[in-house]
């Protein structure tokens, strides 16, 4: 029961309280880039969730079972980025072979995920928060992906409506998106006291 509690709290905390987009500013580039339409935003969210779960788990294993045992923490960043690039490549090949329709719909998003800072950021946070069980690492990584999907979908929904609004000319596009994100971040600050 205790483990379950830890897992549930960990999951909720990464989805809303420590949401990667609104409190850690990770993954802002795709957040601004593909949040124009809700179906694309959802696709991007799913792809990120998949890759972040995979690479979060893998890097946790490598970090705890290989690098720390051998005292090779210096090479941590190089290893992490290699694992992420490898994971993205694997996912891409796997999808192309077995789910061509899904591969078509992800399109350009897949390779772009390698340089999505949310992924590397989460792998680093797993290390920083000293998460010490594999199960928890998996759950937290998955939660991070869900949090990202939620954030990008909310934004896409708002932006679809924003198209019809009368926005001052110089604020069109990225500036108004950032300001909207700021207001959303304010809303998410309300969750801050929820856990601990």
């Amino acid at each position: 029961m205790d483990t379950l509690n830890v897992l549930i709290i960990g999951f909720i905390s990464i989805v809303v309280v420590k949401n990667l987009v609104f409190t850690k500013f990770l993954g802002i580039c795709p957040y601004l880039g593909v949040s124009g339409r809700i179906d694309m935003a959802f696709g991007m969210g799913l792809a990120v969730t998949f890759v972040v779960t995979l690479s979060g788990t893998l890097t946790w294993m490598i970090d705890n079972w290989v690098l720390m045992k051998l005292g090779l923490e210096v090479t941590r960043y190089v290893c992490f980025i290699l694992v992420i690039a490898g994971a993205v490549q694997l996912v891409e090949m796997y999808l192309r072979k077995f789910f061509p329709s899904l591969y078509e719909s992800f399109g350009i998003f897949l390779p772009l995920i390698t340089t999505n800072c949310a992924i590397l950021g989460l792998c680093l946070f797993l290390n920083l928060w000293a998460i010490d069980s594999l199960l928890e690492a998996v759950v937290v990584s998955f939660g991070a992906g869900i949090g990202f999907t939620m954030a990008i979908c909310i934004m896409a929904g708002i932006r679809e409506n924003l198209n019809m609004a009368d926005v001052p000319k110089c604020l069109k596009g990225a500036p108004i998106t950032l300001i909207t994100a700021g207001i959303l971040a304010m809303a998410f600050m309300g969750f801050a006291g929820m856990i601990r």
Partner: protein
């Protein structure tokens, strides 16, 4: 590229200035937004971050430019990332050793320079196509442009959230610190408004 000395000098100057304003990475190209938002709660971490980025950008541009003829197209991005990761590790260890306080404040955002789009973008768009000197000048221009942008943003936010910059009081005593500016909310809104301002100014120029 151009090798005649006069045209060359003009080109270097242009490349340098492009990074500062015309192709300013943050305001005009919308690159490297994550660190821009994350480290600008105060000026000092912003400046440190800027210096790290200049260092990494310079080193990776030099290396990429030197090995540009050896690169295989499909392994290109991987080589870029590995080069960048190596220099980021150096910068991170250096900060930990000599600026432990700043390293604490910046936390994971130093290693996150690896996936900063500015650096990959410059490696891909400039260093892998141009000679050593153009790459160096380009890295300096882009790096300084990025640092200046960070400092402007951080200056506005620190001034409004604490009334001071670098421990020097600027606001009158009656000023009530605007705590939200130091939080994520302030980052998003300040950057949004600054972008709007830049858009307005460029419209007038054109």
């Amino acid at each position: 590229m151009v090798n005649k000395s006069e045209a060359g000098t003009a080109l270097y100057g242009q490349t340098l200035l492009a990074g500062l304003w015309r192709e300013n990475p943050v305001f005009r190209l919308l690159l490297g937004m994550c660190p821009t938002l994350a480290v600008t709660a105060a000026v000092k971490p912003a400046l440190t971050m800027g210096c790290c980025v200049i260092f990494v950008l310079l080193c990776s541009n030099v290396i990429v430019s030197l090995m540009r003829n050896l690169l295989k197209p499909h392994l290109r991005i991987l080589m870029f990332t590995l080069t960048i990761a190596t220099f980021v590790t150096i910068a991170d260890l250096f900060l930990k050793a000599f600026q432990p306080e700043m390293s604490e404040v910046l936390g994971p955002y130093v290693p996150l320079i690896i996936v900063n789009c500015i650096i990959i973008c410059r490696a891909e768009a400039c260093a892998s196509k141009n000679g050593l000197f153009v790459s160096i000048v380009d890295a300096l221009g882009m790096g300084i442009g990025f640092t200046l942008t960070l400092c402007v943003l951080a200056g506005v936010r620190e001034l409004l959230s604490t009334g001071k910059i670098f421990e020097v009081q600027f606001m009158p005593d009656a000023f009530v610190p605007w705590a939200a500016m130091g939080m994520p909310v302030g980052a998003f809104i300040t950057l949004g408004l600054l972008l709007g301002l830049v858009n307005m100014v460029t419209k007038k120029e054109a």
